[in-house]
Symmetry: D3
Subunit: 247 residues, 6 copies
Amino acid sequence: MQLQLSTWHEVQDYLKTSTGVVIPIGSTEQHGPNGLVGTDALTAEIIGRALGEKIGCLVAPTISVGMAVHHMDFTGSMTYRPSTLIAVIFDYVQSLARHGFTRIMFVNGHGGNIATTNAAFYEIYNHRQSDPGKGNQPVKCLLANWWEGPETRKLCADLYPTGHGSHATPSEVAVTWAAYPDRVKYMEMEPEIAPTGRFTDAADYRRRFPDGRIGSNPNLAKIEDGKRLIEASVADLTTTYREFLAA
Amino acid sequence: MQLQLSTWHEVQDYLKTSTGVVIPIGSTEQHGPNGLVGTDALTAEIIGRALGEKIGCLVAPTISVGMAVHHMDFTGSMTYRPSTLIAVIFDYVQSLARHGFTRIMFVNGHGGNIATTNAAFYEIYNHRQSDPGKGNQPVKCLLANWWEGPETRKLCADLYPTGHGSHATPSEVAVTWAAYPDRVKYMEMEPEIAPTGRFTDAADYRRRFPDGRIGSNPNLAKIEDGKRLIEASVADLTTTYREFLAA
Amino acid sequence: MQLQLSTWHEVQDYLKTSTGVVIPIGSTEQHGPNGLVGTDALTAEIIGRALGEKIGCLVAPTISVGMAVHHMDFTGSMTYRPSTLIAVIFDYVQSLARHGFTRIMFVNGHGGNIATTNAAFYEIYNHRQSDPGKGNQPVKCLLANWWEGPETRKLCADLYPTGHGSHATPSEVAVTWAAYPDRVKYMEMEPEIAPTGRFTDAADYRRRFPDGRIGSNPNLAKIEDGKRLIEASVADLTTTYREFLAA
Amino acid sequence: MQLQLSTWHEVQDYLKTSTGVVIPIGSTEQHGPNGLVGTDALTAEIIGRALGEKIGCLVAPTISVGMAVHHMDFTGSMTYRPSTLIAVIFDYVQSLARHGFTRIMFVNGHGGNIATTNAAFYEIYNHRQSDPGKGNQPVKCLLANWWEGPETRKLCADLYPTGHGSHATPSEVAVTWAAYPDRVKYMEMEPEIAPTGRFTDAADYRRRFPDGRIGSNPNLAKIEDGKRLIEASVADLTTTYREFLAA
Amino acid sequence: MQLQLSTWHEVQDYLKTSTGVVIPIGSTEQHGPNGLVGTDALTAEIIGRALGEKIGCLVAPTISVGMAVHHMDFTGSMTYRPSTLIAVIFDYVQSLARHGFTRIMFVNGHGGNIATTNAAFYEIYNHRQSDPGKGNQPVKCLLANWWEGPETRKLCADLYPTGHGSHATPSEVAVTWAAYPDRVKYMEMEPEIAPTGRFTDAADYRRRFPDGRIGSNPNLAKIEDGKRLIEASVADLTTTYREFLAA
Amino acid sequence: MQLQLSTWHEVQDYLKTSTGVVIPIGSTEQHGPNGLVGTDALTAEIIGRALGEKIGCLVAPTISVGMAVHHMDFTGSMTYRPSTLIAVIFDYVQSLARHGFTRIMFVNGHGGNIATTNAAFYEIYNHRQSDPGKGNQPVKCLLANWWEGPETRKLCADLYPTGHGSHATPSEVAVTWAAYPDRVKYMEMEPEIAPTGRFTDAADYRRRFPDGRIGSNPNLAKIEDGKRLIEASVADLTTTYREFLAA
């Protein structure tokens, strides 16, 4: 059930049976020579909405831009400053909490969001617990990366024993191709598997990883993989979400 | 050409021929008994992307939540504080300007965004002109409401001589139905045409407009209308965008 | 009744009969070759205080600097960033609301303030409705441009059928001259009627409108016009304010 | 020379001979049973403008609201949060510095502004020195309290050997009466001379000083005193300003 | 070499041979029945300064309060909001970078700081890379938790095969006791090993972990363990720091 | 009683008998050729903790970085922007007030902190009095400079009839040497007694006071003086604190 595609009366009805909601959060940034700029937002949205269809939870609109400061030397990348992203998440949660939502799970598609999103949760908790008056009932927030559940990790390891890497990975590319098959594009890359390593700011990232990939060979991706990954991730997230509702 | 569905090399190529970009901006808020909560974001996205397909301009990811403080007493509505929305728009423009974009047109679906978006533009201009150093080349921002061009206004007047109103209008409902035909839903409403008037905060809005509509009869909407409205708006916005590029 | 010229006991007494208050808001910016830098603040203050004298409403101190980012390439112009102006208006309203004022009307002298002031109102509404505890009774805010009432518009049209324009207009110049007759100054300008058009930032404004005027011939202004305009605007604002109190 | 009553060409001419400017800064807050709410803004404005007339320096528009958090339990008082006042002063100085002003003297009428104004100066210095690029030439800011020069202090001591106190003082009341003689009002107060002491927040202030005065007997004020005080303060500030220009 | 105990000429000399600096960052929060409120700041400071003594790197003053929103229902706990901690870290780094430091390693004593500190690094990188002018040379920031190096982890596992847990751990208690032996205090606790689990806000934390510990038995701590842990951590951090300088 | 060296149960017990707490606040900045960079933080900490030992009051962790914008052209100096320091102090006070502390005395070691700290107090008072709900009981804050009590001032005058000055003074140097005797260092300086005068930003300070001192001859400092100054200051602050508790 997508919030955007519901009427307000339907949301009112939903709240009678559940106070949980899912928010896809991603990023808009380079994903190597053949990955889409929107990969991280698309994966979060594809999987978040598939979860909503499978278990009937409400899915709020995707946060499509994330914290991608380190990608900004690649054309097309966009970023929120961490302080902006904290404000964005704060307002998302405050809006939903006002209506009575108490379990707010972010399905995340971008590693770079993790730190800032967790910081945002504590900005929210601090605000609400400092003034426990009317309307400030406790809420619980959770960040769930789509790739980190046990089934998904196992499938990734099986599908890509080498060349998975950590950015522009074949798994994330495959998920987007499953949903946008007309975007499939195989390209020669040099080296076949990108280097790995740490980075700091945008200039440092670009210098170390000139085509944008880290440790990955995205040419390993297949549409069929993407379908299986979506299924695995939805299964993992179903467990995560149900445990979260019960917590 | 959607930014999210492009590779970073494709964006690099695009910039060789144009420094213009379109950003759909909407809202997530009640739209009366049968309108979708996402109406304003959906209309902006539908029309913004149709514009991109017609004339080949780049379309950035939609800003799906807007300034909807006055809708917050209806379940499911979400809002950015004006200060948050200013930060969001600031970061969108700063990100794109870094890559060389100089004409940034927001296709808007929500009247409540207009004031804050224009305030944001001047926050940006002030920032960039105060420090005209490296990377702070001038940019021009423009807000274009999808409904305000001459063809679109004429078509609205023709289609809905009465009962158009200003919130949960049949025209915006029709646009969403054209894109999401499985969401068509006709319902009895009382009164048939909602009352009109001014409002201040959320409580005041709810008291005056108890089902959320202002001045409208959304049951007048038809899928076919929506298709024509999209076409008319894209035609209007094509003119607006081309004049903007040339300015 | 000016707040600045009252004692606190007099304000206490005033509140027994009315919870309305008027705040003049203007700008400090170039107004062409012979218009005063303070034109927009002076017009708002002159008319706001005249309204106070006519109908006895309380008039708070003038906000003399506004949002004039686009005027900053003309010497003497001052500006608040939109974010600062939002904070200024927020604090004005929060201060007055604490004492029990519930209808707060800004008499505005500067088109550039409109967007930011309306954004500020929603920053305030959001703050107050999010925490409806002690001291956060609802307030209503209204922005009334001194030039937009029916009598004033008609008089402008009658007095200046051509050459009124939209910046450094003969009407605003006339209002300041009525109050500061020693500042009357007629000067040759080239062209007689300034060009019109749109603008973005300060450099763009300066390039398009090199002497600062937009579409106007301020030499048409006369002290006598100013007196009539003040009277007309006070009449219009009397209606606006009374309707606002009753809303 | 008042900025508000000048044209932008006149300001341009002024800058050829001087880069100094004066900004009156006051407050809007209770001043005891017979003092005006605007006393601190009025005194700063009266004396700042008199200084401008005497020595020809440019006088910017008055900052009429100051940091008066501790007065907020008295009806009619207004306050900026310290953070807002810092933003206000920041924008005043940034605006003027852009045009080439380098010596910015605030003529202050309110003790409660001193800390925050000095904090603001360092927010400005930090901003400008952190990025010493184009447009960030050094500026010097100075806060000059109208009452603290040697002639003014001596005159106060002579006029009011007892009952001067520190809030709603006869000297500040006299200065406002000199400019607004129709506001002269003598009233019985109990006790004749108000108590003295320290205070923290608004509730604490109100409890300790129930009619708003601290240590003063404002009934000692006379219009004639006010005229002499204005003259003395202008003389003191002339010295201060000239030394500041030369520093 | 402690910054606080150096003269500015000594710092100037230091910079001739190294542009690296270490900043201890901790927290002030409950650490169970017998752990010290300052545990996380003390461990970071003890180990950070020991590192400075061993390898001669400069050690800046400790950030003693961290992000401890979730501890605030235990008396004595203090917290920065995430947004404040971002500002604190931003100013630390900006100050040091101004003098030419380019490798800034935070030795961290508190898990709750990790997310916010990493968010802060990207706030800094974004600021500096957006305006690569004078003074904005690139800096690299690194967060190193004192407990996460291989030697330290191995020693922890050897010393405390059970009852280590994740808050008020015997290892962190032992480190503080090694430095403050007069604070050693063994107490009966019930249960001997605290429960484990996840938590959200302060109320949730308190409810799940009523005496403050998570998964730990701090009575296992010994002064001698603390000495060995300090040594192990300094050895680990020496490697980390040297690799960081070379990166 | 140091907060950092207490358990949370001990703090709970403390609150049964007193709601007062002391916070040392200093700065990290050049102190001339032989003064320590940490002088202002060290003096505040040394004296604040000595006060705690003498009278048993709780002493929170030192704020080691202060407002030192004007020192930033000397290597090793660090600064918070005023806005950051306001946030830091805000969070310190809000944290402590949550547990029931109501009298919060800052023992200050740095003149440059005074304005900003006082501004912060009013940011706090405004926040708490604007929303007097649960948890927002009134608090009182006080800034006490360690050098300003009568005994301390008299001793300074006796010890250093000439050459005390206002920055890198022999008295503050002596206090640090009493605590860190291995840092004693006498050096030839030219001139023997530094010049005096006013300053604005960092460049201005450096130009006027090239070795960092203002008006002082720090070679007059002796360890023995430091011991006496600590004792005198603790005596003065004992009186200040007790009066504050009783206020």
